[in-house]
Symmetry: C2
Subunit: 352 residues, 2 copies
């Protein structure tokens, strides 16, 4: 195994990493995380099928907040462990490999660590990057987990038809910008909400949404939705929950669909706010359906080809918010919950 | 038209009827309705295709509360009008007809009035009763709207599979008792909740539920559900909403389904309680789907045959709570919201 042989160099490197300092309740702060320096061996244990990754880009994703809570009962993803490195999706280069499927130099994306080098005992869940001609960082976003989330939520759960009215919240974010553009490609009428005028402009000027509004400037969300959807909403791609969901329920059309992707407005609340207008689910015959993107990773490469095609043809465009350097990662993550990010938030860890 | 000729008798009868006195906010009281006496002509206007019905049984259904509220925007069913008779499903005999499809003496069920005689200008939406050998009153329940609600919600929305875990709230009611029995016929494990020990006994002894509990005696609904569903719930047939829904969300299994049939615990609240555990819809990939039975009336006669078969074979049994006399109707309706009814609540208006 030539690749494994590289491990024989026994090279030891400094390895900056971001660890969780303590479990979090309520709103997280930078101080809940800490950047520390350890070491990494750029070699895999003899005889193992592990790989060592050099991380190029790591992702900041809203669901990571949930992993900072200590859960009594296991949930869909394990809690982070205080003192240990945060794990997240990232784009990496293989620098040592004992695995027959991965060679040194391979570009991959998958669940890695918020650190410079990561030893991955079982790399089988990593995807090889088939389109390195596209910006590699896109594999944390439009070509990675968030892009696929948009795709699955829209096409597998909501199942849009041409001419339908689609509303997307957190519309300028990693998932939202793709949802809106895919819905436009399907022939839908698409409106997005976002938390700043800059984001609203992006939605209309850059992503081709039919309309967009700054929800923070709307005293009455119900009235705002009535203005943008006089005929009502067929599909609400739910990213935020809370007051927006309640207003949306009042504006859904008969047999509307709500793919429940995320509820970011609730992630830092001790006591979540329930939607009071749930009766609309009955009277309007609505379907609300949750999904987790990783369930659909089996069709990732099909998605990758389709999305890479759209990107190359210029049918889909993508905006990223890149924090440079691991030490910026904690603030970048926390910024998601205040809407500081404009587009997909990620962290550049090392040069390609 | 021989049937219409019967109208020539110009017979005028006293007609007791229950009218809405005023729009209702909060919990309804008997005093919001009034029993008055008018007159009815047992004849149809010359040349019309109307029918006159003699009402035998009228139904008390939870959704009627919604029609007592004054809505600014139209909802799925029109508001009642103060001073006018309450309309409801009922079982009736045709006593005059100008309609070629209905003859004097026909037994029908459909949307009639809480009164002795009802002039129906367009009887096309009434169903002829094909199984008069079964108690006619059943056409307000197991063979009528509530039975079909159970059928549609279970088979069209929830789509149970053999061996799945099914939970039904308001389980001894008009809809719930049928849901549970149909789920048992499908080979599911079925638990019901109800609001008295008498009802709980009925669920187990009469309707063949595997387990049942009195939710009013459970301080911790989450703990109760964990006791009855250590493996979790695949299907929750939602009749009540509120605290029960929240506890259920915590106990759903992956890819569980919640047909949202009714939210009776919320119907009299000025400010409904939203479910705080909505995040479970995402993490457990749940589907919550509302439906309205009338959308499915096109397949009523197929349902009627199937259900009549079950009743005759003794595979399904039914319990009714019969109030005798129209003057009992207001109290019977209000009793639904306190759980006074044991089984399907209906009112006997006249002898067959
Ligand atoms: N189900 C799945 O498998 C899956 C996978 C990926 C993501 N998700 C979910 O999808 C949603 C979007 O994720 P993303 O990666 O695309 O994040 P993102 O939109 O790029 O970033 C989060 C955005 O959420 C908005 N936000 C933050 N706090 C808010 C609040 N209190 N009320 C309303 N909006 C708020 C902010 O935008 P504004 O400036 O517009 O407020 C912020 O920029 C999240 O809920 C996430 O958890 C689900
Ligand atoms: N979607 C549709 O097309 C459709 C059609 C028909 C009915 N429905 C709905 O289905 C549900 C059941 O209707 P049904 O005709 O079968 O009524 P029912 O169960 O025969 O009667 C109502 C029962 O609800 C329970 N209840 C009342 N207030 C409650 C509260 N605050 N919390 C919990 N339970 C309460 C009581 O039983 P306990 O003693 O057990 O508490 C009461 O006996 C209702 O929500 C109704 O609106 C929907």
């Amino acid at each position: 195994m030539a690749a494994a042989a590289a491990g024989d160099v026994h090279e030891e490197m400094l390895n900056r990493r971001v660890i969780l300092k303590r479990y979090v309740t309520g709103f997280p702060s930078e101080d809940d995380m800490e950047v520390v320096t350890g070491t990494a061996r750029l070699a895999v244990p003899a005889g193992s099928t592990a790989v060592v990754l050099k991380n190029l880009y790591v992702s900041c994703d809203p669901y990571m907040r949930g992993r900072m809570t200590k859960h009594e009962d296991p949930t869909y993803v394990p809690d982070f462990v205080p003192g240990e490195v945060l794990t997240a999706f990232g784009v990496s280069k293989v620098v040592a490999s004992g695995h027959p499927g991965f060679a040194v130099g391979d570009l991959v994306w998958g669940m890695t660590g918020w650190e410079e080098y990561t030893l991955v005992p079982n790399p089988a869940l990593f995807f090889k990057i088939n389109h390195p001609e596209i910006p590699l960082s896109y594999y944390t976003g439009v070509l990675g987990m968030p892009g696929m989330t948009a795709y699955v939520g829209l096409f597998h759960v909501a199942k849009p038809k041409k001419g339908e009215y689609v509303f997307v919240s957190a519309a300028s974010g990693a998932v939202g910008q793709i949802v809106g553009q895919l819905a436009k490609l399907t022939g839908c009428y698409v409106v997005g909400s976002a938390g700043s005028d800059e984001k609203v402009n992006l939605l209309k000027a850059k992503f081709g949404f039919d309309e967009a509004f700054n929800y923070k400037k709307e005293a009455d969300l119900n009235a705002a939705l009535k203005r943008y959807f006089p005929e009502g909403i067929d599909i609400y791609f739910e990213n935020v929950g809370g007051a927006m969901l309640d207003a949306v329920l009042l504006n859904m059309r008969l047999r509307g669909r709500i793919p429940v992707c995320g509820l970011i407005s609730q992630y830092n609340l001790e006591q979540p706010e329930g939607p009071r207008n749930l009766a609309c689910v009955i009277t309007k015959r609505l379907r609300m359906e949750g999904f987790i993107v990783t369930d659909h990773f089996g069709e990732y490469h099909k998605f990758e080809e389709e999305m890479a095609g759209y990107l190359k043809e210029g049918k889909i465009t993508y905006i990223e918010d890149v924090a440079v350097g691991l030490e910026k990662a904690p603030a970048a993550l926390i910024g998601l919950y205040t809407g500081r990010n404009v587009g997909k938030q990620l962290v550049k860890v090392a040069n390609e």
